[in-house]
């Protein structure tokens, strides 16, 4: 890829770098549940060789890098890096089953090559208990993204038919001259909007509880803009034990079948949202 070569040129030619004491680093992708030393090949960011640094029965999945964060003004380059980061975590996850993903740009530095390596080992040693505990928390589980959408057109149409206040107001509008009808229509729109907001809150609570009971851990994420005229009313990251995955699927199916609602279910992912504070 053309982008990669550009990037290599850039980091090597970082201004002022040649005058300083040359610090090196290890870029960390994740911590894996295995004490082995092994190379995964050139699958890393900018085709770097990815390998493991073991301590006891865990290891850090890393590549060698300069002791500075990967930064770029170019959004596409950053996106490529982040995707590669995820791919490496995915590969480690497939291989070892249990991993603690680290966030993009987690770098441990040292004054020399061997020193950087030692610093990674020291960090693993120092954090060993905590890392092992987190490893147990996510063992046998995967992260899933659950997003529930509704179609505002269908929902408001239903309100028009079922909500007494809205129905009455709608009837009044028909009898009024156009200026007044306009004012009442604004009122009607506000009323519908208000009812829908209340409805969205209720749906959020109901769906959240229905989904939560199938998960080990759950995080509420910010809702995002949806396409095709849909609105996202619930955005969750769920940590789910693999045995409970089918029942979660059934639950989501039944929500998906409700009129005006749809569900997007993604995963399995490594437990990105549930290892907060590892680094």
């Amino acid at each position: 890829m053309g982008l990669d070569t550009k990037f290599i040129d850039k980091t090597n030619a970082m201004p002022g770098n040649e005058n300083k004491v040359k610090e090196v680093g290890r870029y960390l992708y994740c911590i894996a549940d295995a004490g082995e030393s092994l190379s995964l090949g050139g699958i890393g960011i900018a085709k770097n060789r990815v390998y493991t640094i073991p301590y006891n029965d865990i290891c850090a999945v890393v590549h060698n890098c300069p002791a500075q964060p990967y930064q770029s003004e170019n959004h596409d380059i950053v996106k490529t890096w982040v995707i590669t980061h995820q791919e490496v975590v995915d590969a480690a996850w497939t291989r070892w089953g249990t991993v603690l993903p680290l966030s993009f740009d987690t770098i441990i530095k040292g004054e020399s090559d061997s020193n950087a390596e030692q610093n990674v080992k020291d960090w693993l040693k120092q954090e060993y208990e905590r890392l092992k505990k987190k490893m147990e928390d996510v063992r046998g589980k995967a992260e899933y993204g659950v997003q529930v959408f509704w179609n505002p057109k269908i929902i408001s149409q239903n309100l028009m038919e079922t909500n007494q206040g809205i129905k009455e107001l709608n009837d009044v509008i028909r009898t009024k001259p156009k200026g007044l009808a306009y004012m009442y229509r604004q009122k009607l729109e506000n009323l519908i909007k208000h009812e829908m907001e209340t409805g969205a809150d209720v749906c959020f609570r109901v769906f959240y509880n229905r989904i939560k009971k199938h998960t080990t851990d759950i995080r509420v994420e910010k809702t995002k803009k949806a396409e095709q005229g849909l609105q996202m009313i619930l955005n969750l990251s769920c940590l789910v034990h693999k045995d409970r995955y089918p029942e979660l699927g059934e639950e989501l199916d039944s929500i998906n079948q409700m009129e005006g609602f749809s569900v997007r279910f993604t995963g399995p992912w490594p437990p990105y949202s549930f290892v907060g504070g590892v680094s």
Binding site: L180, A181, M183, Q186, K187
Partner: protein
């Protein structure tokens, strides 16, 4: 970075911005009108006049947008503003975001 200014697109952009602002003012007017109506201080006749005036304003804005081909550009200005307000509110009312932010800058 070289900013490439195409006179036509500049005109579009400025016009889109202006109409977006007019729309926001119109929305504020509507809100006020609704409040007056709800308070019961207006006669039927006054409400009728107010409604007609607002309706004419709606029609005028829609016509301008259509004639100038700026429906999308107005929408994108308003969506952009919505996002900013949304983001600011989200940060203000959710303690979780404060934590995320302080972690980000730590």
């Amino acid at each position: 970075m070289v900013v490439d200014i195409d006179e036509k697109s500049l005109k579009h952009g400025v016009l889109g911005l202006v109409i977006a602002i007019v729309e926001i003012i119109r929305d504020a007017l509507k809100l006020q009108a609704m409040k007056r109506m709800e308070s019961g201080n207006l006669t039927e006749e006054e409400m009728e006049r107010l409604g007609e005036a607002l309706m004419d304003l709606d029609t005028a804005i829609e016509e301008i947008k259509e004639e100038q081909g700026i429906i999308e550009s107005v929408k994108s200005v308003r969506d952009g503003l919505d996002e900013i307000v949304d983001d600011v509110l989200d940060r203000m009312i959710n303690p979780e975001r404060w934590k995320e932010e302080s972690e980000q800058w730590a």
